[in-house]
Symmetry: C2
Subunit: 306 residues, 2 copies
């Protein structure tokens, strides 16, 4: 079995991690997390989203946060957007990289952003044009890639069709997102392999939730298929509004710990990352689902009982 | 990537799952769990251990439980033993399959059963002779195979040496146990592959804890290396006395759910297994770390919000 020397981690706690939290973090609190992540050598952060503040009040200060962070040149800052309006707002704040999200499943897309998947694909082309005119990169996250909590199975051919269209329209990174934690590692391996075969020049990124404890297995399956970029959220924070009982995003420190223990580098300082997770836990005010924060690293030694 | 058609699950909740619980289950309560597991088509159960009742009061009723279960011919019932005394007690109750445990790490073995690893290997031969004379099978679990919480790394050559000696002495199943959740999937794959290369006729079984969320990745790595038998505990119950913060055994329903979603059979009825986990949760009186018990299976559908 061959393993790569390194993979990239895209830290999404400030967006997907926080967007369902009851406690709204202030801009300064978010900035603390971002600066601590920067200290841990995290290179890519999805820092917020430009959605209507009454819909997602947790993200209302995303522009203000960007203003406080954009003097750092060592980090890629990505904003999620649902539509052209979001892209326009992001442009006003000077954001340079956007990630538009829509769902492969019509039903989920209608629930989430009130568009059919076909409409979202059409909007993607319009927003891409807007981004080109404003010197912004446009990534895309395809939600419910591995299944829909309303419709069930989403066909592989449907995903291939959507991926082909967004690539033809000039997408930067394409994220395959497992919105409610339905993916299994065999499915991840097979879909990722087939997409990499079909689109060998394209950068793909994977986004998993740990709802059914398969988050780390799915990341490994992606690595084995040749994917080299993964969304993770500090502390494993996050959830899904449509799936009660769903746990959070796959946990950054748990993923980094696993990869490092296997000799796969991420460029991240794991000790500083764990320290950042404990700061987040204090700021957010409740226990995080992180394992490494509780158990420590695998090489932690215990005193021999006397 | 090739996956097997099926793997075996050895259910250890009645032993490793319960042995640190504050609430002692009665013989009848344990019997309920065992019979529900039988209804779910679980084929192998480690039902208890023959250790001194003042050391592990949770296991004091193991013989009595065996008497209530041994009329079932559809299930393999295994008892853990630490020494010859345990084997003698098990023999009195008529147990037909034993699993002796000792650690590859001297320091851990001295803490756990007050013997050096060398002494345990010598005792293994004596106990094997006793088992042969009494028509009992003898399995062996090698604790701290993937690392020791006191000593740190345990060398691959040390594991090969121990495995060779127990196989030469006639061990039935050899379990490689990750006592405190230190193993990573690369390590599991490489060690398992090298042992299967060296001892192709031997049946190996793997035992993981989910301390650092790598339990399921380690099982998959074992499957990929060619291992076809795994210890798991209903609800993910369990822990380790030497490792505070350590979570439980890898969770049976989470493992079975993952394998089935990948098209790998276990022969187990997953719905009945989940029902059994919820019975266990009520009996034990606290929340279990199981994911599937909370989130449901991956194909669970949600109503579309109105």
């Amino acid at each position: 079995m061959n393993w790569p020397q390194s993979v990239n981690i895209n830290e999404v706690v400030l967006r997907d991690g926080l967007q369902l939290e009851q406690k709204l973090l202030t801009t300064d609190e978010k900035k603390i997390i971002a600066m601590e992540l920067l200290k841990a050598n995290v290179k890519t952060i999805e820092f917020g989203s430009f959605v209507h503040p009454t819909l997602v009040p947790q993200m209302a200060n995303s522009g203000e946060l960007y203003n406080k962070l954009n003097d750092t040149n060592r980090i890629t800052l990505i904003a999620l957007i649902p539509n052209l309006k979001g892209a326009e707002t992001a442009a006003i704040f000077g954001v340079k990289q956007l990630n538009i999200v829509f769902s492969a499943s019509n039903t989920h897309n209608l629930q989430n952003i009130r568009q059919t998947t076909e409409q979202s694909l059409e909007n993607f082309r319009i927003i891409k044009e807007f981004c080109d005119q404003n010197g912004m990169k446009l990534d895309v996250s395809i939600a419910t890639t591995f299944g829909c909590p309303f419709e069930g199975e989403v066909s592989v051919s449907q995903i291939h069709l959507i991926v082909k269209q967004v690539i033809n329209a000039g997408a930067n990174v394409v994220t395959l997102a497992d919105t409610t934690g339905m993916a299994n590692p065999r499915q991840v391996y097979e879909l990722s392999s087939s997409l990499l075969d079909q689109f060998p020049e394209q950068t793909f990124n994977l986004h998993f939730h740990n709802t059914r404890d398969m988050g780390l297995t799915n990341i490994l399956a992606g690595v084995q298929a040749g994917i080299r970029s993964f969304d993770t959220a500090l502390g494993g924070l996050g959830g899904c509004p449509f799936a009660p009982g769903a746990t959070g995003n796959v946990c950054t420190e748990d993923v980094v710990h696993m990869l490092h223990s296997m000799g796969i580098d991420t460029g991240i300082d794991l000790d500083q990352l764990i320290e950042t997770a404990s700061i987040l836990e204090r700021l957010i005010g409740h226990e995080l689902p992180s394992c490494i924060l509780k158990a420590g690293k695998f090489d932690r030694k215990y005193p021999i009982p006397s």
